[in-house]
Assembly symmetry: D2
Homo-oligomer: 355 residues x 4
């Protein structure tokens, strides 16, 4: 099912941007795991809008209500379902768009896919709003991974043409604008502000690292860690590219430059470099799993655009109003972490049945 | 299962580089479909080694034997299984590598994953040899798609730092070295030859287009066309990056630059540009589905490398001998087509149950 | 995942007997299907307690709230989630049973499975209460099947040793005590009343027919209609037996007695008898799909029973108090219909992708 | 996919009765497991025809060739594929039946399902021949379970109206006619011989026990041990009924009669009786898992039957010739064991990821 992920756990995301509620069901987490719901709230707050000046002013408390699956503070083995009500709905904003699909959005493809019966309000099931539910599931998986010594961290690695500098470190998550080099962060913020002032938007990239992952996760062929992470990450709206380790950069190197030489130290095998991003043959080698995600610019811009009226079949200009993030990349950072957490936790459980 | 792909069809790849045979089982193809096995052989020949001077001299006739699933020249509805014998096996080449994993290969990760019981000969299940089986399945799907007016084409888009020029066209598949601009192709071949002479190898990229794909394929979230193609493409050994449309390029643009404006012509909606690679919200919009795949350089090089002896736990130098492609990208072109064909055909069947 | 069913649709059941809510998510229903929620309520009412004197007095309004997936009265293509609050919870009834598993219940197995972290209140996820969620999903599937001319009907075929008489007919569903022969129904009710008076309970069987099912549904081997229905039906608590057509009766016959002879009439092939229950080789032959389900007696009885204290590891007597149906079979009739509806609708979608 | 089973392992059965070969692929078995192929051959021999006078005289050496997945006598972690050639094919026997479906067989339903493109020779994919492949997979799982102290045993519990007597014991597997009471076995053989002499056939039942299964296997709802075993067992041709523990018998009892009282002994919880067949709430309780399977009589009989010519649409009489078992139940005993082994081993791996 397209709104479900996983083999050993199953995450199901439900809801539309303007339905009565959204939520997620997480199945397959073993019973007896303590969950820190306060910690989860903090994680969700990193994705919530209003954290900085560049995010949409729509107020979403986004406090999930857990209906089931948790008993006495621990997972009880059965499906965990949490819901979030959609309180701040201004559906009237969208009625005009029913017949006029927005370029870069899923409006037209949803219309085709769902034979015109789609919930077009605010992007429906395709809305970035749904990533709140993804973050509930991912935030739980992140906690479960941390108990096993596996940490997932991410940062904004570029906004438009501006790149962050330095090595990714874990406390970057505490920043309102999570870059390693705040100077570059300041430039990025200015760049976003300028585009916003023009009624435009901007894309960027997110870099993510999974630290402490043991060797042996992932499987050959279709269930490699790359395949698993890809399936989760491409579920995030606006993602158009994904590369592991040095990724496309490797395609320009020779084998002698790219191969990661091996050495033994402290009872374990390490590699001198980590061009492979910690994955060989789909299986982790004990080095950090690293990947980079490319986000397209927010398609909602207030500049004039070309569309087609689906009823009259006539070309028609389009002006988008309403509240929109000029750049979703800052809020996407925890979402990438969530997607990675789901993929890695699922792979960890898969590994357990072999041991 | 990690060696299986699909939801409406299921492709299962089995075999190791030096086992008695390899093969594939393809389930879920509706009964009554005519298959052109001669056409399939031609497709497989595009992947076979020895097609040009840069591929491994190992001779593989690679003619699949179909055990079942085809009756009177048509699919009969039940699983289609084809096997290829591994005739030209020189297993002694590899015995020395049992304890000395090759950098950039899956030797070490397979050792961990399989507790030392892995078939280490020639890379075992991780060998590029297995892509022959992938191409049987993909070649069948390609034929089935062509009956529905969907064509899949691909080319070498770069080798090392050298990029092909021009627009991808379909007859590029007939070339022994499939680039659009033969002048650039000549430079690529020289570049490969130089690296080979140095005992080194080289990476590259493949660009792929799916033409004639109707709007409405793919699903939201985890089963978007991007997710589906990613799951298939990252199953190809050496793939480290994947981007759709202009991919990472979009992350440097503004929304007004990146959004694909829409217009109506000839009874259908088109977009002025196709930066999205034909996919919005995970669902095809009727424009060509385009993507680019990054391959790392062949990890097998004859230069000295650093490894670790898994028995003695001592660092040890490694010299790889034997037959290896200095660049697998030319042979990977039909493999990318095969992976795309499997993903798109599966999505097409998924769509049929909605109609 | 154990709480999910289906290949082309996916039904997920969540919740525990005394959690804040229970519910279901139904994925994969094509967009644009009108749903009659009033009709659904009537269907749910057939399962609700209090419909006759032999059902538990716990009052459950059981009106589902649909959170998403329905827009303007039609399915909008994305997951349909409905929840029911658990209002009438008397959790204190169960605290004594935490360490003292009830014979015939899943208390002990849940304790083992979930390492003592199970939600033991009222049977948790194993409670018959969860069949309300199954009936939401099944009730929707039933409506969708009816649009395709497929009707699912069921009756009580026996209670304890007392068997119903006559042929199953569709309006039996309108009866508060759904048997074909009301005289036998009266005897069944008396039999239940007597056992109840003794502090005991009683089992029974349900017979179900799927009418109007086209030939060609179901698949060979593991996805035959028998396998599909079995997977759904054994999800109903207390089911211990299942047979198709004349089932175990066929094992006592000869081939000449059991084989269903064929004839042609009205443009279609029919069989003289329907011993096969409409299924051959896992695939429907156009005759009604018929099956019979055996329910064990309600394990909750007020008679003294032998149990073991899980903390002290001492044998301990057990007296169950609280509200319990002396016979769940009458309420199970729509639940069997729901399970069948889910299985058949899923198979119908599977078939569509082949056509 | 309909010819595949499992969640943690995946068994795929391929081939048709008269295709060039049949076989199976088994994925998901952890690496490093020693397999005793001689023991496997003995297991397969129990299913092979010609073991007694009532089985078809077709000679099938049925020695599987393992193509891959085993290396140095151990599983190497990747898919295990074994094939059996179909040597003794007399396809001409079946050509007359192309248009004249045999009552009780899948000929007609296959014709509908596969749009007339089915491989009709000898029942194609629906043939009992395919259970040889099931027994390869099941035989491997049986060995793997035995290493964990889990033993699967089965017997003929009835042939036609004649029932075996006594308790199931494990060495019954060594008998050519596996019943507990040889006197009853003799009567069964006579009964089969009489029916055979009349050109008729006969059904029967098989009883199976899984001994040594730990408490905690199986999951609530759709993945209970009953559901898992049902999905495997209904894949065996001719199975029409399945019951666990005392099964349908429980529906005639009261709760006080049926509930299995519990006691503590030898460090473990036991039940006084085992009416539940070792499963409560879908999860094993540590008692033997017991079930009974009902087989219909072999549909191939030499008596005259009614059929319909699919081309002319006229009613037509049918006389079946050729080689057929008058009773498949004796050969089905190891097949039931195989199905159970696959289901239980899959559940065991599922459990491991929770521990």
């Amino acid at each position: 099912m397209s709104s479900s992920y996983g083999e050993n756990i199953e995450v199901t995301i439900f809801g539309q941007s303007h339905s009565s509620g959204i939520g997620m069901t997480l199945q397959g987490v073993p019973a007896g795991e303590e969950l820190d719901l306060e910690e989860l709230s903090k994680f969700l707050a990193r994705r919530a809008p209003g954290r900085n000046e560049y995010s949409s002013p729509r107020r979403e408390p986004d406090e999930p209500e857990f209906l089931c699956g948790i008993f006495n503070g621990k997972t009880c083995g059965t499906p965990i379902t949490a819901i979030i009500r959609n309180k701040d709905r201004r559906s009237e904003d969208y009625s005009a768009l029913k017949d006029l699909p927005r370029p870069g959005h899923a409006d037209y493809t949803a219309n085709i896919k769902y034979f015109g019966a789609q919930d077009y309000r605010g992007g429906g099931h395709f809305s970035g709003r749904l990533t709140a539910a993804l973050c509930i599931a991912g935030g739980i998986c992140k906690q479960l991974l941390e108990k096993e010594g596996i940490q997932i961290i991410a940062r904004i690695s570029s906004i438009g043409p501006i790149k962050d500098r330095g090595e990714l470190f874990s406390s970057v998550a505490d920043k309102a604008f999570p870059v390693c080099d705040d100077e570059m962060g300041e430039k990025m913020r200015e760049y976003i502000a300028e585009r916003k002032a023009e009624g435009d938007s901007v894309g960027g990239t997110v870099e993510c690292s999974v630290l402490g992952v043991p060797a042996g996760l992932g499987d050959p062929m279709f269930d490699g860690m790359e395949n698993r992470i890809a399936k989760a990450v491409f579920a995030i709206p606006a993602v158009k590219g994904l590369e592991f380790g040095i990724g496309f950069g490797a395609s320009e190197l020779t084998g002698s430059e790219n191969n990661d030489g091996m050495y033994y130290e402290g009872g374990e095998i390490h590699t001198v470099t980590n061009h492979a991003g910690g994955i060989l043959g789909g299986i982790t080698n004990g080095m950090p799993v690293t990947f980079r995600v490319g986000f397209k610019p927010t398609p909602s811009i207030t500049k004039a655009q070309r569309s087609v009226n689906l009823t009259t079949k006539e070309d028609e200009g389009l002006m988008i109003t309403g509240r929109h993030d000029p750049c979703i990349v800052p809020r996407a950072v925890p979402v990438v972490e969530a997607a990675a957490a789901i993929a890695v936790y699922d792979a960890l459980l898969a590994r357990k049945r072999e041991l």
